[in-house]
Symmetry: C2
Subunit: 110 residues, 2 copies
Amino acid sequence: MGLAKTEMFTDMQNEIALFAKVFGHPARVAILQHLFKINSCVCGDLVNEIGLAQPTISQHLKELKHLGLIKGNVEGTSVCYCINTDNWTKMKETMLQFLDQDISNKTDCC
Amino acid sequence: MGLAKTEMFTDMQNEIALFAKVFGHPARVAILQHLFKINSCVCGDLVNEIGLAQPTISQHLKELKHLGLIKGNVEGTSVCYCINTDNWTKMKETMLQFLDQDISNKTDCC
DNA sequence: AATATTAATCGTAATATTGCAATGAATAAA
DNA sequence: TTTATTCATTGCAATATTACGATTAATATT
């Protein structure tokens, strides 16, 4: 039914899934990489950079902002976006706990 | 239209998005954590462990296998699954390139 | 005030994902 | 051979996501 049963998983499993989900679209990956590259960016520049329509980019930015990975500041008629460094660091630590699971003592059983 | 325009993104951006997408559901996160924890597991055990129906677990396993993150071996009537350590390491390196982008010289502009 | 610029929001269509019951295939056990 | 066990596959319904045109809101410019 297209509905993840979050109540049967741990908080951490749900948190990892939420972060991963937002990275699960190349446009959002590209937006974040560009924000890292130039430190600060307005929505219109991202529209030119990425090549999707303005409402589409705006929606992706909304999701990134909702998860706290970016900040947005109104500056006149434009909006300045940048990485939320504190939250990015926290997210990275959570993801690393998942990605860095001990693999050294694994025998390839299959 | 619910269709990611992969042709407008780099191979790496698409690859990151594919890996992230498969981590974007807590059941798959839980499956992988359990496989790491006990090294090897049959499908039926995962059904008991996770609490979803057998066809649902089977489908999640299929996606993980399709991306090469796990291996599956038939052993009589049961099927043994385990982490594909080589591919896990490769995936981790790709994800780290994305997660570990330099944050040190960032001024919080917003 | 009138117009231009910028970005969010709304509505809608197309596609994807999730979950499970039912079924099928394959081996094991009797 | 018959029955049980285990897991994959199919088909379906419910929900989510993606993308964009049209519109709206807000500030800037003239």
